[in-house]
Symmetry: C2
């Protein structure tokens, strides 16, 4: 056992509710923090630098890539998104557990560069329930929902590559279960 | 993930309080049971067959050894003590988690024959505290206490071979931590 923190990758299909579960975990345990990603996109209204994202320039992002300063990164719609390595390592060194909440693709990258990370897959109770959740948001057209459901079905197959799978039937219960996994790691010998 | 239960080996030096911790765990979670050992010694007053031990004859014990019906066994003072395999497997099959609460020597045997078992080492807060606990019992002479402390010190070195180490500062807290480890295993992928 060391007094360093542990690194957790929390991933799952979009709509599984991983964001809400992570928020609930952060409320319950002070020794856990969420890694803040860096992005080159502009802040939206209400977003605070260092809270939602580190908002940085394209040049600075490219410098981070070159200096191997990112655990993983990806581009969407002309913008880059990535996980700054230094902040993660500083927190682990201080004994704080760090969560990377990340999509399936990002999760795969992280598991490669940080195989010691404990990976947790958050799954929706069923495809039926996932459909209900997406429909009830009322923000997306039928064909977009169908597309997202197909993607989720494919992403579910990735769960077998994770260390743990927790079904999100209920946010509080799911957060408690994930927190149990996080706490257990603190007692692991020879980690 | 399967719906089978998981096997846990809970061990630690005598005086670490593993028995009290296990009792507390059983009170808190219905899906966990303690494996009952078989012994050839006679029941003491108040002991119930199938609760403290399965009290069986030397012949029946030898039959169990021959038929490979014990996970581990050892002899003390002309009597045999062992862990019957069938009861453990029946419970695991039913989805019940099974705890083997066992001394360091037995723990080592189990880890060899059941490498999939999750092993948890319960440690006293310190040698100083262990001495206090042994002295406060008031049942043993000074030289016996010294002998037990030396043994405990040697046994502490075995902790590095366990999956988890939980310090027993406080029975309730220790039980909660061990229960977290037990619950986490229920979410493990590809176990």
């Amino acid at each position: 056992m060391s007094n360093k923190g542990n690194l957790f990758v929390i991933s799952g299909p979009s709509g599984a509710g991983k964001g809400t579960v992570v928020k609930e975990i952060l409320k319950r345990d002070e020794k856990v923090m969420l890694s803040v990603s860096a992005t080159t996109r502009s802040p939206r209204e209400g977003e605070v630098d260092g809270r939602e994202y580190y908002f940085i320039s394209k040049e600075k992002f490219e410098d981070l890539i070159k200096s191997n300063g990112l655990l993983e990164y990806a581009g969407y719609c002309d913008n880059f998104y990535g996980t700054p390595k230094q902040a993660v390592e500083d927190n682990l060194e201080k004994g704080i557990d760090v969560i990377l909440e990340i999509d399936i693709q990002g999760g795969e990258s992280i598991r490669k560069v940080a195989p010691h990370a404990v990976s947790i897959f958050i799954a929706p109770p069923s495809m039926e329930e996932l459909r209900k959740r997406l429909v009830s948001r009322g923000t997306e057209a039928e064909n977009v929902i169908e597309k997202r459901l197909k993607k989720a079905e494919l992403e579910m197959q990735e769960s077998s590559k994770y260390d743990y799978l927790v079904v999100n039937n209920n946010v509080e219960q799911c957060a408690e279960n994930v927190l149990c996994i996080i706490k257990s790691e603190r007692f692991r010998v020879n980690k």
